[in-house]
């Protein structure tokens, strides 16, 4: 998955569209804008092949226009990330994102996304009741992250605050590949949101979920058992370092191939861990990791 992500990041443009909706109160307006600005700043700072659009309290027409522009510019090899911050509503049938003028429905948002040719898509809906939008937004090859597990979780959410944090905090880069994937950002924001409610001694009013199989309801804990999270793990949101440049250098190809083989061997070993004696696993892991470190050292020296 590491290699997939690296290869993807090296050649594609990622379009980011962040929209903060109506707060209804001054406090919420400020908060939503602040989180959107925070995300905008992190994306622009990360640089790379990216196109960053941030809309604060836009009307439905403005959203349609901007998404249309993205649809015209994006190519199949590109990626698109739509991030929604604000209040949402769900009446049991239809989800709506609250914006000035007529609200925009999940069905329309899905349609706008469908018109974008980029085959790799990610929608991060951080509004209240966002769980109600999953059924409309899900699609094969699209990651859908939602701040709430259902449309019935109606309280204002804090997930966006921690999602914004994830995009700039190196701690979110759990596998230290200098790139924060959608799955890593999801885990980070989910962890911090849970911690927020625990610390405040408050009953959690939001339970974030992820869906990237195109057919699920959204999972709290993506993993092999439920099949969720695989696409998100290979979806780089923000690059923190220059890992992609190495892949473009033909002189480094032999070492990179060797590195890739070692990484695959480590992945396989980790997969087999459960069926192995602890000592044997540890010994093999140590050997592979040491070899990988040596290859990386050689790459760094070239």
């Amino acid at each position: 998955m590491f290699c997939l992500a690296t290869a993807f990041a090296a050649h594609a443009t990622t379009f980011y569209v962040t929209i903060s909706g109506l707060g209804g109160e001054n406090d919420y307006d400020q908060r939503f804008k602040m989180w959107a600005d925070d995300i905008d700043g992190s994306l622009k700072k990360a640089g790379g092949d990216s196109n960053v659009v941030t809309l604060v309290a836009p009307t439905r027409d403005v959203i349609r226009t901007k998404m249309g522009e993205v649809a015209r510019q994006a190519k199949p090899g590109d990626a698109v990330v739509l991030m929604l911050i604000g209040h949402g509503t769900f009446d049991g049938t239809e989800y709506k994102f609250n914006i000035p003028g007529p609200d925009i429905t999940a069905a329309e948002l899905a349609s706008l996304m469908d018109h974008i040719p980029a085959t790799r898509q990610c929608v991060v809906n951080m509004t209240s009741a966002s769980g109600g939008a999953i059924a409309f937004l899900r699609k094969p090859s699209r990651v859908v992250i939602s701040a709430t597990k259902a449309g019935t979780e109606k309280n204002a959410t804090v997930f966006a605050r921690y999602w914004a944090e994830a995009l700039r905090d190196p701690a979110a880069d759990v596998d230290k590949n200098e790139s924060i994937s959608a799955l890593e950002a999801f885990h980070f924001a989910q962890h911090k949101t849970t911690e927020f409610f625990d610390t405040q001694k408050r009953l959690a009013t939001e339970h974030s979920v992820i869906e990237d199989t195109g057919k699920g309801e959204g999972e709290r804990t993506p993993g092999a058992d439920n099949g969720e999270g695989r696409l998100a793990a290979a979806f780089p949101l923000v690059r923190l370092g220059a890992n992609a440049t190495a892949a473009r250098d033909p002189n480094k190809r032999p070492l990179l191939d060797q590195k890739e083989q070692l990484e695959q061997a480590i992945d396989k070993l980790k997969y087999d861990k459960i069926s192995m004696p602890v000592d044997a696993y540890k010994k093999q892991l140590a050997s592979l990791l040491l070899q990988l470190a040596k290859v990386q050292e050689a790459l760094d020296k070239q």
Partner: protein, 710 residues
Amino acid sequence: MRVPGSLRVAAAAARVVIFSALAAAVASGQTLQQAEQLRDQHDLMGANEVYKQLEARHPDDPAVKVSWGRAFMEHAKEEDFQSANDLFNEALKIHPNYAPALVGLALIEARNYGSKAGPIAQKALDADPKCVEAYELLARLALEDNKNEKAAEQAHKALEIDPNAVQAKAVLASMDWLADKKDSQWDPHSARGYETGGHFFFLNRRYEEAIAYYRKAIALDPKLWSAHLELGLNLMRLSQNDEALRELNLCWENGYQPVVNKNTIQLMESFPRFTTFKTNSLVLVANKKEADLLRPYFEGEIQRSIDTYEKKYKIKLTMPVRVEVYPDHEDFAVRTMGLPGLGALGVTFVGPTLGYYIAMDSPSGRPPGQFHWASTLWHEMSHVFTLSLTNSHVPRWFTEGLAVHEETAASPEWGDRLGPDEISAIKNHTLLPVADLDRGFVHPTAPTQVIVSYFQAGRICDYINNKWGWDTLLAMLHDFSANVETASVIKKELKIEPADFDKEFLAWLEADTKKQVQGFDQWRTAIKELNTANRNKDYAEVLKKGPEIRDLFPDFVEAGNAYQALAAAYDSKGDKKAETEELLRFVHAGGRDPDGIMKLGKLLVEAGRKKEAAEVLARLNDIYPEADGLHKLLGDLLFDAGNAGGAVREFKSVIAGNSIDPAQAHYDLARAYHLSHQDEQAKDELLAALEVAPGFRPAQKLLLELSGGG
């Protein structure tokens, strides 16, 4: 008193529901005597059927209602006490000032150490000067306050009326037993009498003796479920869990199901969620989800407090101290149920042969910053020493006073600050005489009196320590261990009459708190205005008025304090130096807000004052070790300072806190191990880091270096 119709209906419905399991046919013509006979034989269901018939036949007989109410009290579920209360009030409606009904109401009050029990019992005596039970209750209440003379007087009055009054005898005998006289001429030779003896031993924190008396009660009346319950609870307090659970289940199976029984069984069934760490001197029991995080800090403070107190109190503990830490406050609350006073943060149980036990809230059990767990631990640990040294013969006010004194003796930044309740008590002259101070803990007359009594007892010990010295406090402890009463101890050791001591102490206290007490009203108005200005981001106003308001009441470090308002104002101006100094003042005044302490730590790091930063952040470990980012920041500071041991501890805590960045956490721990020349452990940690993140370059480099390949 009129009972609203709806309440009577509700009470009647409850009675039907509670006792509906048995609907045995009851022949008409049964008497109150028969009902009470069944009640005495613990056949409460049978008794209830008779009472129902009796009430139907004699709806206006207050004796039936009162007797039925007493049966409800014996059944002892929470709703039963409400039914009993309703019945007693119904009886009073029929017969105003009916003494047995008043006694019933007084007994309900006394159950939870309510301050109205005495006045209601006195009212019963006014209505019926020959009411034996009222005298007995007054005797019991007096002995609960350690007012032995008054207790004996009331008990003898009961015995003059009824020479066989069991509870009067039990109170007199309890006074002998508590004074270590094994044979008492007042030995009631009855189960309920011994149960009362057990109650007084429990109340005086002599749990092993309480257990012995509950056993004696049960031996005479194996169906006395209230004694079984108390036996179970006291066994649990001393961690005799197997037998405790058997007793509690026995009660449950026999229909004796007060809420404390249910909650305690549930708590004991949750024990598998806890894990235990043992050393030679301590046993730490913590919930598995946080045990690894808390362990180094708790073990460190437990050991440090034991070492300190063994020198101060000049005794060696003979057994390990068991400290149980509950992240769920409700679990901890079960451990304190039935205890008088607050018991809000921690509780200590000492058995001379069964060991020393402390139960307390975990720092995660309360909102961050509300609770200084290390201060609480030292408080409770001092009880272990004072109770051990006196064989639990120390009066409540003195052991609590010493414990409060020890909190600030351990660190001036610890302990509770002077608060509005204490200021109000000083101002309104409602502090109690030292000889009556136990009453403030056991039978408080106002909701704030317990907390004020803790404060007063603590300041009395401060005062004695300042004026007469620590050895005098120790001498007083030794006097108490020989069953000498407070007034006599004051006279003997301080060479002063208790009343004169009170005057001198109050003069000292008033002088010490004069500025804060006098300025309190002004401060109360001003701090509201300051907080409004802060909320409105009117920082010029905050900076103008803040310092004076802060200095009017420098002890106020809770939410909405002037220190943090000023710090925010300095922050808005970008004046980091002033912000840092203000937050340092806040911390030195005892401020506990984790965000404020973390902010200060980061400001000090930015300013290059790393040593101070580490000292400030280390304070947070004593308050809220779960604080976000604390251990990583502190670990880095300690690592940079070359403190390998400290860095290892902190980085281990990062891992124990389920770090969101496990690779970095294991790598940090690896470099700390490497710094302390523990390279094998370092390699293990590197493998753990690289297992999560195989391409993590800093970890790869250190692995190569440690493997000789770098």
